[in-house]
């Protein structure tokens, strides 16, 4: 018996919901947040979304604490930056909070906090919409309910499955090139040369992998249904992924 299979009853509630339904449910809230200017609406949505995530995804207390800390820090940072970016003449009528080498009005702080709350609300809503969704669940739901063409959905999934393999390849390529005596400088120049150098072998390997995968798909009748040979679908998805992997590096 496999240890990883969970019985359906024990799955977190967010994972049990239909992926398309989850996306559809959060979409109106996202639109609402986009068009509000006050602080109360995003604040209420932040609290509600956080509750849904904590209950629905069964996060461990440690994860909740870390997540909370990150949100608070990010919130403070964006509040401060947006407050400083607010044009002073707009908030000139509000009381002055800080008057030293910069002058900060209470109105600017409010604007900053409102913007920050809206960003956090959207982040959390995106989490509600995607937590517990696996790529294949999303694909089959998109094909069934969303009427997304079958060939694009499966082609995209097959391409996404390259990612771990790409990451492994990239680690090997970096080690293989270091073994040749390459030492990259630290900083952005070293980053760029390193990235550029790994792209060619990564692309060569990726193209070969894509070709083999698409042959395997066509051998199982992929093209009959879709009318398009798998090779086109796969190679179209490959380019962006290669560059993404090359840029993000093994730390990703």
């Amino acid at each position: 018996m496999s240890t990883s299979t969970q019985s359906v009853g024990r799955r977190p509630q967010l994972a049990a919901l239909n992926p398309v339904a989850k996306l559809a449910a959060v979409l109106p809230a996202v639109v609402l947040v986009l068009f509000t200017r006050d602080m109360a609406t995003p604040a209420v949505i932040v609290i509600a979304a956080a509750l849904v995530i904590i209950v629905g995804a069964r996060l461990r207390p440690r994860a909740i604490l870390i997540g909370g800390a990150i949100i608070l820090l990010a919130g403070a940072w964006t509040t401060a930056s947006f407050a400083l970016l607010t044009r002073p003449e707009v908030v000139a009528g509000t009381p002055v909070v800080i008057d030293g080498w910069i002058t900060l009005h209470a109105g600017a702080l409010c604007t900053g906090m409102a913007t920050s709350l809206r960003l956090i609300a959207m982040m959390l809503l995106a989490l509600v919409g995607s937590l517990g969704t696996t790529t294949s669940a999303l694909v089959s739901a998109l094909v069934r309910q969303g009427r997304v063409p079958y060939r694009f959905a499966y082609g995209a999934v097959a391409a996404v499955r390259f990612a771990p393999r790409y990451r492994q390849d990239l680690l090997t390529i970096r080690a293989a090139q270091r073994a040749r005596g390459i030492i990259d400088r630290r900083g952005p120049v070293g980053y760029l040369t390193r990235t550029w150098r790994s792209l060619i072998p990564l692309l060569a390997g990726g193209a070969r992998h894509a070709e083999r995968l698409s042959l395997a798909m066509d051998a199982r009748g992929f093209a009959v249904w879709s009318g398009v040979a798998a090779i086109f679908v796969i190679t179209n998805a490959l380019g962006p992924l290669t560059f993404g992997t090359g840029m993000a590096g093994p730390g990703w």
Partner: protein, 576 residues
Amino acid sequence: MSDLTPGLTVSGASIRWPASERWIGGRITFDADVGEMILLLGPSGCGKSTLLLALSGLIPASIDAELRGTILCAGIDTQTVKAGQLATHVGVVLQDPDAQVVTGTLLDEVCFGLENLLAPTEDIEPRALAALRQVGLAETREQALRPPTELSGGGRQRLAIACALALDPSVLLLDEPTANLDPAASAEFYSTLAALSGRSRTVVLIEHELDDALELADRVVVLSRTGTVTHDGTPAEVFGQHGRELLERGVWLPIATQMALRLGLDSDPNRALPLTAAELDSILDETPPQLHVVERDRPQGGLDDATAAIHINVSGARVALGGAEVLHGIDLSIAVGEFLAIAGVNGAGKSTLTRAIAGLVPLRSGTIDLDGIPVADMHAHRLGEQVGYVFQNPEHQFLARTVREEIGYGLRVRSRPDAEITERVEAMLDRFDLRRYADLNPFLLSHGEKRRLSVATALITEPRILILDEPTFGQDHERATEIIRVVDELGATGITILMVTHDMQLIADHAHRIVVLADGALLREGPTADVLRDEALIERAGLRMPPVHRIARRLAQRRPEWSAVYRSEQIEAISS
């Protein structure tokens, strides 16, 4: 069988890739009857895999290549069908287990083909589950919901078979299905295939590990280097009569046949060569007793020689990758001039250990010293001068635009004088027979040439340690022999060689000492002869005995002089 529609009919077939002048396959013609299992052989580059793609109809329907002549697959002309339409008639299993997985669970994976072909909804899941049960991957629906990533390489190849079987094709094509697998997984794959081989399905198999495959094969078709059919007959006819000729053409032979050739059993043209241990056994009964086994052990190198200095000392080395520890406290000493093999199944930690020795991955704890100096304290350039590392895929190491620049790269980054660089690069071009390609881009070379180039680039700094990761992987018999000859020559110059491989015969024939790894831990290390004869240990590591020793042990039941034989070189004909 003439009353049945033939499984495959190939007449006058040649294939040409776009933008290529050359036709692959010289008017290939052969038939495969229903239920027949054909083994397709030939040296690398002869077009076996291309032919298989044409047999499956992927050429010309999915791949933009030109087909001349006709191929009838399950009675259907492959020139007339659209991409994917043959999928109900022909199943394909390719070499790379990773490149055949499309979805996230075993069940989805098998359903993928059925859904593509619009099988009735209520049939899909039962058919998929039945196929998974047939290959032994899942008994219940729960088990079928596992992700394919949980499976080993061997498991994923059996999954590929299940995917093909679910569509119940009348033709099954397999292109080196065990090439990426370790020995035990490969044996497991063939026992699965044997259990499935009914008399209703035509099977064409490309394989170079012949001993497992031959048990299933009814016929052998051999292609020449230019892609014409040179032999077509039963395994006994083809190998029994033409063994020596095939060996010279670069075709792999069954081990028993190779051993018989070393014994000179082909000197009598009326005697058919053996294909199995049992046949070799009975031939030895009939032949005069002057055929002998040489009781000759390889001259011991390394630690048994009291004068040898310790070159590499690994002590309590632990390595973690992405948070998980993959190497658990390895202790190992390697002497100057030793040829050490590192064996283990995929994922045992072989490459991680050699990368740690070359300073390419950091240690979590423990130390690795080269000549008493910790690797961690050495500057990358200095380390690179001591260790040459040839990776499994040569392309991963190419950095320059031409072969000449590629070879000189290691010297240029070390700012050596131009005159010295030129002199050493030119010498290297000759030594590795690369002068013809000096101004070509390294990516344009053939696989064997790329491999030679990567060895040349590793040796340019004259390192005292050479590390080779799976050097013979994916090479035909002739090229594998050529690479190993170079490595042996280097070994004779006193350089320390570390070779990562799961080719047990390669280890048996060349290594002084062997280190067996399993799950990131050192299972055992010792002289090759001692370790390889420890069957329980080899099995625990997921490996198999070297084939020569497997056959020798069978012969030793009545001929005790064979019991110590594990290397090909120990077998020799003594002429009267």
